[in-house]
């Protein structure tokens, strides 16, 4: 009987997958778990924002201007009779006050949550796709040579690492600023430009990971079975290289939200009427002395959300790195 249980437990312990080990170690890291929970909360909030503030007659209207009720501090009530009945806030109160046009800051923050989140996600999505594609190609086909006819100029790896070097050489914030200024700031331009200037990290990680993986037995086995190259990359290599991508994506979302707020501050952020936390903050700072909540609320919100993504990403990084893993 005793032998039986021993046999049962040992294989179970031996087959704990690396992902599960990482997950266990992640859960032991309290700040990282707190970060993850805060990120989840932010997702829910952003989705609520989308549901509540979009459409022609949204439940909470972020664009409703009420000049009588401008600069109301948080938790103040609308002026009765002075505000048209259809313009009254649905909640009957301004939970986070109003701005210089009497718009409900709570509704604007909710709307901005979704816009800021989508800026982060789309930018990082673009960066990750480029990064995985270039990193994967460099890692797997790196030794292939490029050239015209019989003249062989360079290897694929040289080309792609060269591209990474070039991209890393530009001062990214200044370049983003330049490009956005030339192309006109619009929400799509900003997403695309941030995405196009932040793929280098992912590309380098994926390349390094695949270079290490491609020599391993399971890849040799896939080759022996005659699996074509692209399929080996997509089915066997990338899933195994996903950890560093996940880490840099999480940190990248944090970075993109911050970059957007920096652009807003310089006047090249997402233009109105779309509200983002960045442009609420940079508009609010003009009224810092008269209406400090217009600065403090979005500023703190950005701080908390970016902090959450950073802690989450750092927790993932520690969990996936066996040498840093908490024992």
């Amino acid at each position: 009987m005793g032998r039986h249980t021993a046999r049962e437990t040992r294989p179970r312990d031996a087959t704990v997958s690396p992902a599960r080990l990482a997950w266990r170690s992640f859960l032991r890291n309290r700040t990282a778990v707190a970060g993850m929970l805060a990120c989840t909360l932010f997702f829910v909030l952003a989705l609520c924002g989308l549901v509540l503030t979009k459409g022609d007659h949204p439940i909470l209207d972020p664009r409703q201007v009420r000049l009588v009720d401008k600069f109301r501090p948080p938790l103040s009530l609308p002026t009765p009779r002075a505000v048209a009945p259809e313009a009254l806030p649905r909640l009957g109160i301004y939970p986070l006050g109003t701005d210089e046009l009497g718009r409900d800051v709570f509704a604007r923050m909710l709307e901005g949550a979704f816009v800021s989140l989508s800026v982060g996600f789309v930018a990082v999505g673009i960066a990750v796709i480029i990064g995985i594609a270039l990193g994967g190609i460099a890692g797997y086909y790196g030794r292939a040579r490029l050239g015209f006819g019989t003249v062989r100029l360079m290897t694929v790896d040289t080309l792609i690492t060269g591209l990474i070097d070039v991209a890393l050489s530009f001062p990214s914030f200044f370049l983003i600023l330049t490009v956005v200024a030339i192309l006109r700031p619009s929400i799509w331009n900003i997403m695309v430009v941030i995405g196009l200037t932040s793929w280098e990290g992912t590309a380098r990680f994926v390349r390094a990971e695949i270079l290490a993986l491609r020599e391993q037995d399971f890849i040799q086995a896939a080759h022996a079975l005659g699996v074509p190259g692209p399929r080996v990359i997509v089915r066997h290599l990338i899933p195994n290289a996903v950890a560093p991508v996940l880490v840099s994506a999480t940190l990248g979302i944090a970075g993109a939200i911050l970059t957007e707020s920096g652009l807003s501050f310089l006047g090249f952020g997402v233009p109105p009427p779309d509200a983002t936390w960045g442009n609420i903050l940079s508009d609010g700072k003009n009224f810092l002395f008269d209406a400090s909540w217009l600065t403090i609320i979005p500023g703190t919100a950005i701080l908390v959300v970016v902090l959450a993504f950073n802690l989450f990403g750092e927790g993932l990084r520690e969990a996936f790195n066996p040498r840093l893993r908490q024992l």
Binding site: D165, F170, T178, I182, S282, L288, T295, V306, L311
Partner: protein, 324 residues
């Protein structure tokens, strides 16, 4: 060594070429011809268009435009759209303003980041470690301008001193101790704020580097030999953990241009970043492109420097030098 230098130099030259192409191509990003960049702007006069065409040789084919542009840039003929002054002297003048900010910021960065990182690595998971982790991440996560505004208001309201600009406005600029003190004080806030993100990032990096080293075999060996804990940590572990940071010396150089746009704007500091921002606002493309190009060249020089430093410091690299 020589082959390594030649190979790296060759690679850097190629990178430089691509950088120059991209820097130049930026002006062609605008939809349509770049000279029609702002057709609705009433201030965009035919004279301006003419100047634009002349500066970038828009009537020539692309490769000729490219060659001519860089010939102008390198021979110092390139002139700013705004005041028709040559670009290079304008930039050099601003470099001198940015340099003290950059130097003090870097100094602060290194003085705070290393002790902080090492201390939290040694006391991993202690209250100290957790508190510094959260503070450090908060510093990484806060929008720089938000923190600056809060800090400026705090300082001005509590100490009633002037913090904006190179020196107190209206103060006679006579040489002397007071002027020096005034200028030094004006350096404090912008350089400290510029350094916060760097302190946070580098101290995290020091921490993880130190953690990796502490678990290495040679550290265990050092402990097994019965060495004192301090000797193990500071002589055996720290030395190895600090290796990668030598390379950072080189990588910091480009921060001179790119890192300072927001802080120089807030503090009305007439440095490079602000020059770039003003140039973008007034669509002064010769300056914008030159700045992007200079920043990229600085990065290249920085990486080259860090490669070389790394070879000097870490003998293991030299063996593989030929392959890099």
């Amino acid at each position: 060594m020589l082959t390594f230098l030649l190979r790296t130099g060759w690679k850097k030259l190629w990178t430089l070429f691509f950088i120059s192409v991209i820097s130049f191509a930026v002006i062609h990003l605008a939809p349509g011809e770049p000279s029609q960049i702002d057709p609705m702007n009433p201030r965009f006069t035919p004279q301006q268009l003419e100047r634009y065409r002349k500066a970038f040789d828009l009537d020539q084919p692309l490769h000729v435009q490219y060659v001519r542009f860089y010939r102008k840039l390198l021979s110092g003929e390139l002139r700013s759209f705004k005041d028709n002054h040559p670009v290079m002297p304008k930039i050099v003048e601003r470099i001198w303003n940015s340099l003290p900010l950059f130097a003090v910021g870097t100094l602060l960065m290194w003085c705070f980041a290393f002790p902080l990182g090492v201390a939290s690595a040694i006391r991993r998971n202690s209250v100290f470690d957790q508190v510094t982790t959260v503070i450090v991440f908060a510093l990484i996560s806060v929008p720089g301008f938000y923190l600056s505004y809060l800090l400026i208001i705090f300082v001005v309201q509590n100490f009633h001193v002037d913090v904006i600009g190179l020196r107190t406005f209206g103060r006679p600029d006579t040489p002397g101790v007071l002027t020096l003190m005034d200028r030094t004080w004006h350096l404090v806030l912008p350089s400290a704020l510029g350094a916060t993100a760097g302190i946070a990032v580098i101290s995290r990096y020091v921490r993880s580097q130190m953690l990796e080293v502490i678990t290495a075999d040679y550290v265990r060996t050092a402990r097994a030999k019965g060495l004192e804990e301090d000797t193990v940590l500071y002589k055996h572990a720290l030395r190895n953990a600090l290796l990668p940071f030598v390379t950072m010396l080189g990588l910091l150089i480009p921060g001179l241009v790119g890192g300072s746009v927001i802080f120089e704007t807030i503090f009305a500091w007439p440095g490079l970043g602000r020059l770039g921002y003003e140039a973008i606002l007034s669509r002064d493309y010769p300056i914008v492109i030159t700045l992007n190009f200079i920043a990229a060249v600085l990065t290249l020089v920085g990486t080259l420097l860090s490669d070389l430093l790394y070879m000097v410091v870490d003998p293991r690299i030299r063996l593989e030098g030929g392959e890099v």
